[in-house]
């Protein structure tokens, strides 16, 4: 990828073709920017990220609410009137208490309240921050460690490859959700201590680490395969023939060629990691109360699904849009970095 590629581009004047030298990164960026669907999804993703980052502003300055405190006896304003956030039934036997539904007023429970009387809109934004943080961090862990393991295993081969590949096989052998659930159940209940490192049960680092680790084989194996293939390529053999050291081969020849695979896989892993986080949090073994994530809000919404479906629907829609955006963007990045793959697919 560090090689220069000569590309035909229209000349600035007259319309004749001119030959210019462009780096593959530049070409990829250009191809990506031309992909309107991918760009639209990148825009959507950016909007979601910015909204989530503005969660404290919304909670404190717009909705004037604390999304982490119960507000079961609180009131809010609807159409100029003060109404209880949790409305007790007065009809029939007077059973049941229903949280306020969406008011569509940004200042007063825009998406309604959950079973604790908390502002769903504010929690949705705070939850998005955690979901995105966990997804991004876990995807980074996965991709960095997977590249490291895949490159070392594929390049050195022999015993090193044997040991690393078997380790990956062991992790691969477990259904990924089962493994994540098992690890979370153990670690979330007790926390994790290793030497000076101590993670409490409520720490976001636990789901980040667990999700990041369980997906390593899914990225490491294709990277190892690619490294095995690259090792036999002429430019690598030429570098060996020129006396390049292992370190130089790895750094200059192998790594630049496999890093694109990791880049293509990153948004896809981010999407998968966010879904996994939502699943774990929905099972109460991901993000812990009073913190929020889109998964925990869906869990909260399950309790009022019959009367207030918006509580579960809102984070569900947020997850669906984010994952859709990431998947389409990931496809766009892959097409931009490896246009031949697109051609192969169209064939």
């Amino acid at each position: 990828m560090s090689d220069l590629i000569v590309e035909e581009v229209p000349a600035q004047a007259g319309g004749d073709l001119a030959l210019v030298a462009a780096s593959p990164w530049r070409l990829a960026r250009r191809r990506l920017l031309r992909n309107r669907v991918a760009m639209a999804m990148a825009g959507l993703l950016a909007v979601i990220v910015v909204l989530c980052l503005l969660a404290p502003v919304y909670a404190h300055d717009v909705a004037h609410t604390d999304p982490f405190s119960s507000n079961l006896d609180g009131t809010t304003i609807v159409n100029g009137k003060s109404v209880p956030v949790m409305e007790s039934s007065t009809q029939g036997l007077g059973l049941g208490v229903t949280p306020i539904g969406p008011t569509w007023d940004l200042h007063h429970y825009f998406l309604g309240a959950d079973g604790q009387g908390r502002d769903v809109a504010a929690r949705l934004l705070y939850g998005g921050r955690n979901s995105l943080l966990i997804g991004t961090s876990a995807a980074l862990i996965t991709c960095i460690l997977a590249v490291l393991i895949g490159v070392v295993a594929g390049f050195f081969g022999g015993l090193v490859d044997g040991v690393l590949s078997r380790l990956l096989d062991v992790v691969w052998a477990f259904p990924v959700y089962l493994l994540a659930i098992s690890l979370s159940t153990v670690l979330i209940s007790r926390g994790f201590s290793l030497g000076p490192l101590h993670l409490t049960s409520g720490s976001l680092l636990l789901p980040i680490t667990i999700i990041g680790l369980v997906y390593i084989p899914y990225v490491a194996r294709p990277i190892r395969g690619e490294v095995l293939s690259l090792r036999r390529r002429e430019f690598v053999e030429a570098a060996i023939g020129l006396g390049a050291s292992n370190w130089r081969l790895l750094w200059s020849e192998i790594l630049p060629n496999v890093v694109t695979t990791a880049i293509v896989l990153f948004p896809l892993m981010l999407a998968i990691d966010m879904l996994t986080e939502a699943a774990l949090s929905f099972l109460s073994i991901g993000v812990q109360e009073p913190k929020a994530s889109w998964g925990t809000i869906i869990l909260d919404g399950q309790d009022v699904l019959y009367t207030r479906p918006a509580v579960a629907l809102a984070p569900g829609i947020a997850i669906a849009l984010t994952v859709l955006a990431l998947n389409v963007l990931g496809d766009g990045i892959r097409d931009a970095l490896d246009p031949r793959a697109k051609l192969r697919r169209t064939d």
């Binding site: 009809q91 036997l93 059973l95 208490v97 229903t98 109460s284 309790d303 019959y306």
Partner: protein, 554 residues
């Protein structure tokens, strides 16, 4: 004379009306006999062994399937707390309350056709220890020979404790000390009389023959429990074991609570064991009000605080929690003010020894009015525990989890750094009991075993109920105040001679325990039963809840 003729006519007319009424009521009762009562539960209640199982789910069904020497009266209202002779026709208490002599009824058979004998009774009491019944140490340790049985259950003989005389058809139970509550302990399912041939280990899913109006015909914990009429049953006491209406009673497992409610609404089932989901309560109270039954319980929801580890080893920190919690808010989580009543103390209303007391409110006195958060914050500051990390443990069902989240929110508000952790309902009762798990505060409920103040105060806060390192340490707070415990023993002794005097002492103990705040009492719940349209004659026993076999379905 005219007067006399009129009087005579009136007597004749009244007699005729009585005859017609009796006849028609008998005919009505007969016409309601039959059909299948379909019950639902999200999951099975574990072992079917009546001397091992300790769940309301099956204790409710044992009322129609098993009998003890004594029984709680099968009746609605307060009468359900009366203890009446069941398999025993009569009993006498001798030797200053230490010897109980029971005369067995004749002609009663188990559902396998074998007659009930004194040998069965003696074997059943030994079996309580052999199967390691959960209350063997708590309820029956006062029987002579029980100490040896608790040590080596397999060889339990209760020598000198329980003996039978086939000639006189009597059974004698000797106690190490008088126990005024022993009659209650003989009336709970763990003291059921079973055939002497019953296995000397937990029978699990294999039904053991009983003497009730029904027997368990089959049990598959993944599918269904089936009860059928006991072909050898005849009614010997309406109060102790009345005949039932349905020919068959089934309890199917697997449906979610939401699905249970829908099935009952649609007439596909008659009742669900699990509490209806919060978001269906309004619907039940309005559209299905006639099918919804609300009954106050002698129970309480509380948050035990571990008095042996920080921050709740500090009295002020514990009292702060009591001042801070908004009982009305908690009641909203539970389903609203019609389903629960705020409370600050241990004993529930209507229970022996109950005298309203609430020091943890805006205007301290007898009832709770509002939280005093300012006072709570002040107490936390004085305690020196501000900023202490606290984990609130709760079961992961909808209501308990929400209560845990609420408590964490309140703890954060008054200065702690709290998080809520929901754990599986399967371990939510035992996990906080074990001191090795270092649980600081958790969400629990306690429903009476029998109507005596000791069942709350001594069981939950007595030194004898605290067993460090054990999963069986029901005193979850680890509270052991020697002075209060001595008063508990004094009250237990006092019960033998005078229950009113003992209850006055229990009231004092209730106040003292409340002041020491080893728990934060939240509310006293009501029970909600949602039945199908076809269910008639709903009778709710305060002791064992809905008497399922006393309702008809046709």
């Amino acid at each position: 004379m005219v007067r006399n003729r009129r009087a005579l006519l009136a007597v004749v007319a009244a007699a005729l009306v009585a005859v017609v009424a009796t006849g028609s009521s008998g005919a009505t009762a007969q016409s309601h006999r039959g059909g299948t009562l379909k019950l639902l539960a999200n999951a099975a209640g574990g072992t079917l062994d009546p001397q091992v199982n300790y769940t309301l789910q099956y204790w409710q069904l044992y009322q129609a399937t098993y009998d003890g020497l004594l029984a709680f009266q099968k009746a609605g209202g307060a009468a359900a707390f009366n203890v009446v002779p069941d398999l025993a026709s009569s009993y006498t208490i001798k030797n200053g309350g230490k010897s109980w002599v029971f005369t067995l009824r004749k002609g009663i058979k188990f559902s396998n056709g074998r007659p009930v004998t004194v040998n069965d009774v003696v074997a059943s009491f030994r079996r309580i220890f052999k199967v390691k019944s959960p209350t063997a140490g708590g309820f029956y340790s006062g029987i002579v020979g029980a100490t040896a049985c608790l040590k080596t259950p397999a060889t339990c003989t209760l020598k000198g404790g329980v003996s039978g005389d086939a000639k006189t058809n009597t059974v004698t139970i000797n106690l190490t000390a008088p126990d005024a509550e022993f009659k209650f302990k003989l009336a709970v399912p763990h003291a059921s009389i079973l055939p002497a041939s019953a296995p000397s280990s937990d029978a699990g899913t294999k039904p053991i023959p009983g003497t009730g109006a029904y027997y368990f015909a089959s049990y598959d914990p993944n599918k269904e429990l089936v009860m059928k009429r006991n072909p050898y049953f005849h009614q010997w006491s309406q109060a102790a074991q009345p005949d039932g209406y349905p020919d068959q009673i089934t309890q199917s497992f697997g449906l979610t609570v939401e699905a249970q409610v829908t099935a009952i609404e649609n007439g596909q089932a008659d009742w669900g064991y699990d509490f209806p989901p919060a978001d269906r309560l309004n619907e039940l109270g309005t559209k299905y009000a006639a099918q919804t039954h609300l009954t106050p319980l002698t129970a309480f929801w509380y948050a035990p605080m571990n008095v042996n580890i920080p921050p709740f080893n500090n009295l002020k920190a514990r009292q702060a929690v009591n001042y801070a919690i908004d009982r009305n808010a908690l009641i909203k989580i539970f389903g609203g003010s019609k389903l629960a009543t705020p409370s600050c103390q241990v004993l529930p209303p209507g229970f022996p020894g109950y005298k309203p007391y609430c020091p943890y409110t805006k205007n301290p006195g007898s009832t709770w009015s509002a939280p005093d958060v300012a006072k709570a914050k002040q107490l936390v500051a004085q305690s020196g525990e501000k900023g202490a990390k606290v984990v609130v443990i709760s079961a992961n069902d909808e209501v308990q989890k929400a209560v845990g989240v609420y408590l964490a929110s309140v703890l954060n508000e008054i200065g702690f750094k709290a998080t809520a952790k929901a754990i599986s309902g399967n371990i939510a009762f035992t996990y906080p009991q074990n001191t090795k798990n270092h649980v600081q505060i958790n969400v629990q409920q306690w429903y009476q075993d029998y109507p005596a103040a000791s069942d709350f105060l001594h069981i939950l806060f007595g030194c004898e109920s605290f067993h460090p390192g054990s999963d069986s340490s029901i005193n979850m707070a680890g509270f052991c105040d020697k002075a209060i415990n001595a008063q508990m023993h004094q009250a237990l002794k006092m019960e033998v001679t005078s229950f009113p005097k003992a209850n006055a002492l229990w009231s004092k103990i209730d106040r003292e325990v409340t002041d020491q705040a080893p728990m934060a009492t939240m509310f006293t719940p009501k029970h909600l039963d949602f039945v199908s349209k076809r269910v008639g004659n709903f009778v709710f026993s305060k002791q064992f809840y809905w008497l399922v076999d006393q309702s008809w379905v046709q």
